[in-house]
Subunit: 337 residues, 2 copies
C-alpha cells in the first residue's frame, strides 16, 4: 500500500461526560507537517484505541486530559521519515505519543522506545508490549505481589489488559479466573489468555456472585479489577483475608460525577485486612524497561499471545472508543490511519 501523502487528523471537538462518541471528535485534513527543529517527523503506522481515553476526555478530574481543538492523544507505532534529532534515524520504528493522525511532528520526549519488528508483528507493540502489557505487569506482577498456587480473579478478562494479566498469572503459577461478556470472549479467555476458567457476566446476571464463589473454591487472593461496579460487588464476598485489590479501570460505570452508590466497603477492608491499591501505569515509567524485557521473554517462550484487531482508516477512530465499551471487539483495537 502506498503511504498517504496528505495529513489527516482527528481533533477533539468537546469533552465527554460519559463514553466518547463520534460527536466528541472531528476528522480534518491539514497541511503536511514538516520536521520540527530538534524533533522528528514520523509516519504513523498504527494508532491505539484505549479504554483509558474515556477518562482523558472527561471534564471531571483525571490523571491526564486532552483539550478541545487538539489532536486526540494516543500511543502509536511510527516510522521516522525525517529527523533533526541525533537520537533518531530515518527508517527507525518507534513507540510513542503520536496521536490520531497520519503524520506526527513531535519533540523527542514524545518518543518512548524503539521497536524491533523482528520480535513480534507491529500491533503487538501497541498491545502486550504497549500500554496493555505494561499495565498488566505493573498492576499484577509488581503491585499485586502474586504468589504461585493462589487464585487471581480478573474483570474484562478478554480485554487488552485482562488478556495480558491472565497470561502473566498463569506464567506465575496462579490459578486465573476471568469475568467477561459473551461466549466468544469466555472461549478466548480460557483458550488463549491463560484463564483456568472464565465466567460470562451477561449470562450469569444476578447469579454472578454464586458463580464466582463456585469458580474460586479456595477464595480469591488477587482481584485485578478493570470494571468496578456490580461486577466488583460480585467478587468482594469471595476475597480471602489479606487479599490485594488492584484497581486498574472502572469500565462498567460511564459517569462518576457524582459517584454512583454501592455497598460500603469499609468493613470488608478492615475485617479481611484488604490492601486496595489504585494505579496509573504512567507513574511507573522507571519500571518499563524491566517490564518490557520480561514481557518479551515470556512472548518468545510462547507464554504470551497478542490478539489484535486492526481497523482501516482514520475515519474509524471517532467511533472506536464507544465500540470498545460496547464489547464488540475481540482483541486489542488499533487504527491504521
Amino acid at each position: 500500500m502506498t503511504p498517504p501523502t496528505a495529513q489527516r487528523q482527528v481533533l477533539v471537538r468537546a469533552h465527554a461526560s460519559g463514553i466518547p462518541t463520534p460527536e466528541n471528535f472531528e476528522l480534518v485534513d491539514a497541511p503536511m507537517p514538516v520536521c520540527p527543529p530538534g524533533g522528528v517527523l514520523l509516519r504513523v503506522l498504527l494508532a491505539a484505541v484505549d479504554p483509558a481515553m474515556r477518562g482523558w476526555l472527561n471534564t471531571a478530574g483525571n490523571y491526564m486530559s486532552v483539550q478541545p481543538g487538539s489532536v486526540m492523544r494516543a500511543h502509536g507505532v511510527g516510522e521516522v521519515i525525517a529527523t533533526d534529532c541525533p537520537d533518531w534515524r530515518v527508517g527507525e520504528l518507534v513507540f510513542g505519543w503520536l496521536g490520531w493522525q497520519r503524520y506526527a511532528a513531535v519533540a523527542p520526549a514524545e518518543l518512548l522506545w524503539r521497536i524491533e519488528p523482528g520480535i513480534a508483528p507491529l500491533p503487538a507493540w501497541l498491545n502486550i508490549f504497549g500500554l496493555n502489557g505494561l499495565a498488566a505487569w505493573v498492576g499484577f506482577t509488581h503491585l499485586a505481589r502474586p504468589v504461585a498456587g493462589r487464585t487471581a480473579l480478573v474483570t474484562t478478562a478478554a480485554g487488552g489488559v485482562g488478556a495480558a494479566v491472565g497470561q502473566l498469572a498463569a506464567a506465575a503459577g496462579l490459578r486465573a479466573v476471568g469475568i467477561t461478556g459473551g461466549p466468544e470472549k469466555v472461549a478466548l479467555a480460557t483458550g488463549e489468555f491463560g484463564y483456568a476458567t472464565a465466567l460470562d457476566y451477561r449470562e450469569a446476571g444476578e447469579g454472578l456472585a454464586a458463580q464466582v464463589r463456585a469458580a474460586c473454591p479456595e477464595g480469591i487472593d488477587v482481584f485485578f479489577d478493570n470494571t468496578a461496579g456490580q461486577l466488583a460487588d460480585a467478587v468482594f464476598p469471595s476475597l480471602n483475608i489479606g487479599a490485594r485489590v488492584i484497581q486498574c479501570g472502572t469500565a462498567s460505570i460511564a459517569n462518576w460525577a457524582p459517584p454512583p452508590s454501592g455497598p460500603r466497603r469499609e468493613r470488608e477492608v478492615l475485617v479481611k485486612r484488604l490492601a486496595w491499591q489504585g494505579f496509573v501505569v504512567f507513574d511507573h515509567a522507571a519500571l518499563f524497561p524491566t517490564a518490557l524485557a520480561e514481557l518479551q521473554a515470556l512472548y518468545k517462550a510462547g507464554g504470551l499471545h497478542s490478539r489484535d484487531e486492526v481497523l482501516e482508516g482514520l475515519e474509524a477512530a471517532p467511533g472506536a472508543i464507544q465500540r470498545l465499551y460496547s464489547g464488540a471487539n475481540l482483541g486489542r483495537v488499533t487504527i491504521r490511519p
Copy 2:
C-alpha cells in the same frame, strides 16, 4: 481497698447485631477459681472496654468472636497471686487476656507481657501501652509510612486510638487534623492529643467536607479512619494523589449485615492512586516489642499522654460498650472489677 475474695464475672448472654447493651451480658457470682495446672491465677486490677468488642459480639463474620455462655473476652492488667508456671512469679503485674472478671485462671499463652509499674500508672498499660497504642503504632507508624511535613487526618481523634495517633503524628512531624464530636473532645484533641486543629462533626453537619478542605489546605496524605460512613465521605474528596487510607475501625456504622450504601470509591482509588489498607492489630504481634519500646520512649520524653477514665465495679461493664459508642467518655475507659 481490700481485694474482693469472691469471684464475679460478666458472661456473654447473646450475640449482638448492633452495639452491645446490658441485655447481651449477665453478671454472675462464681466459685473462687484455683490456679490451673501449668497456668497462673491472677487478680484482675483493671479490665478493658474496647470499641472492637462490638465486632467480637457480632454474629456476622469477624476476625475474633466470643460465644454465649463464656466470660466476656477483654484485655486486662492483673497481679499474679498463684502460679504453676515457671515463667511467672507471685506479685508480678501482667498485661493479657484476663476477661471481664475479678479473678482469672489462665494458661500462660493468655499472658502477653510484664508490666513495669514504675514507667506509668496502671491504666496507661491498657491504653497507650495496650491495644490503643499498639493499634496506633501499627496502623500509623508502620502501615501508613508517614512523612514529616505532610497532613494526617484522623477520625474519632479523641478516642483511645485517635488520641495516640495524633500524638504519634505530631512526634513524627506531620500536621495532624482530627475529627471528633463535641467541644470538650475538640479541646482535648488539640490540647492533649497532638492535633494542630480538630473539627466537631456534630456542629459541622453537612458542612463537614468544606471544613475538612479548609483545615487541610495542602490536602491529606494519610487518612487514619476509625469511623467509616459519612465522616469518611467528607474526607475522601480532600485526599491527595498517593494518599494512604488506613481502616482501623468502622465506629459510625452499627450494623453491616447487609452493608449500607455509600458513594462508590473505585474511581477515587484509581485516579488518586490511593492505597487503602485494613488491619487488625493482633496480626502484627511480632512488632509489639518494637512498638512498646517506641511508645514508652515517647512517653518518657513527654510526647505521649494517657487519658484514662476508670469505672468502679464489674457491674459497670455490661453498659460500658454502649456508653463508649454514645461518645460520653472523655478518655480511654477501663473497669476496676
